[in-house]
Symmetry: C2
Subunit: 246 residues, 2 copies
Amino acid sequence: MTFKAGIFDSGVGGLTVAKSIYQAKLFDEIIYFGDTARVPYGSKNESTIIRYSLESLEFLKNFDINFLITACNSVSSCALPELRKEANFSVVGVIDAGIYAVTKQAKKDDTILVIGTKATINSNLYKKGLEAKGYKNIISIATPLFVPIVEEEAYSPSLIKETFKLYFDKLNPEEIDIVVLGCTHFPLLSSYLQKYFKNAKLIHSGEAIVELLKKEYNLKEKQNSKIHFLASENPAHLKKVAQKWF
Amino acid sequence: MTFKAGIFDSGVGGLTVAKSIYQAKLFDEIIYFGDTARVPYGSKNESTIIRYSLESLEFLKNFDINFLITACNSVSSCALPELRKEANFSVVGVIDAGIYAVTKQAKKDDTILVIGTKATINSNLYKKGLEAKGYKNIISIATPLFVPIVEEEAYSPSLIKETFKLYFDKLNPEEIDIVVLGCTHFPLLSSYLQKYFKNAKLIHSGEAIVELLKKEYNLKEKQNSKIHFLASENPAHLKKVAQKWF
């Protein structure tokens, strides 16, 4: 049987996840689709995110995929039940991977900070999932401005410092043991976050998803793996970003 | 004849324009439509903005409008020719209003700074329009982070100061005579901009559009004026913002 995965994100952020999966050769073929014409999802309503996700699944079905990975935390936090109802194959989201990674690296009494878009944080899915695994000290903070800072490549250290002040003012950064990067854009801010939360381990779900796929879905390394990039607008830009990152 | 206007924006920003028009009672009825499910437009491609604009026009035709105002600079900079081709009535954009306002307040040798989204600045429409009126010293700068700062209501003075540094680093703020707020979100940053560009007049197209409509389209004050608010997602939020601003 040929394993053909669709990897779906609102934009280019999910390429960080696609890269890990592609390099692990878990699928014969990967179709990456970024819904760049309607990006961002994270500030939209749950019902809108579900509608867009189902439309993206319908589109990906054109390519006869038999596995779906939602490489977007906002989609993974709102739309998995609906996607699973419409797909007749496995649907895996990055939040499961993030939680899996925490269980591998954190002690039960660690203080865990989860950051993400409004949609992801409001869904409370990380918090609930981590609590179900026995973690108790979980702080969730929506940090929506991190997304346009990455998208605009506005990596001014003093600007980033001010956004940290805005969002993390009430925290003692030294007390945070784990920071879950609950948005595929955030790994690009890793160096700043690591400097600020100097005692913390940063969890990037893209790195954990390969292990999760191998373990829970029994996927094995293939001899060859191909990947195609599609976007709902400006596919040339997405391909350029992919070439740079891959 | 009943004058029924559609006012169209990518989100809630255009309400600043709608408010002026509504208060001036230039139409018997106004239908305000915010395409909140696909906001923002300003970072999208020209072809996407045109497509979304035509779809929004089709939707507004349901309400038998006979006048269209594009209360979004990104739409006004990319999609007016296509909208005019599809509408069998007048289509007026905020950029015309902004240019009109400059001609009322600026001397020909003034140094004019135009700020807006990427789509608006890349279109070069303000610059071309102002040059056609005889202005020569025009500086255009895209300031895309201003949009999420307003949308997230992240009015931290030190954060805003850092974005000013990012975008205006090469300017001498004291030499700027006119600042054209080329995005409907930007009037909400007026106090910060006025403090930074302390010798400048700020131009807000929403304030100029009423005068433009009266003069160029011969619209007169009506006895009564009604306004309805519609949105492609979360209409309750748009209505709440409208109630707060109006």
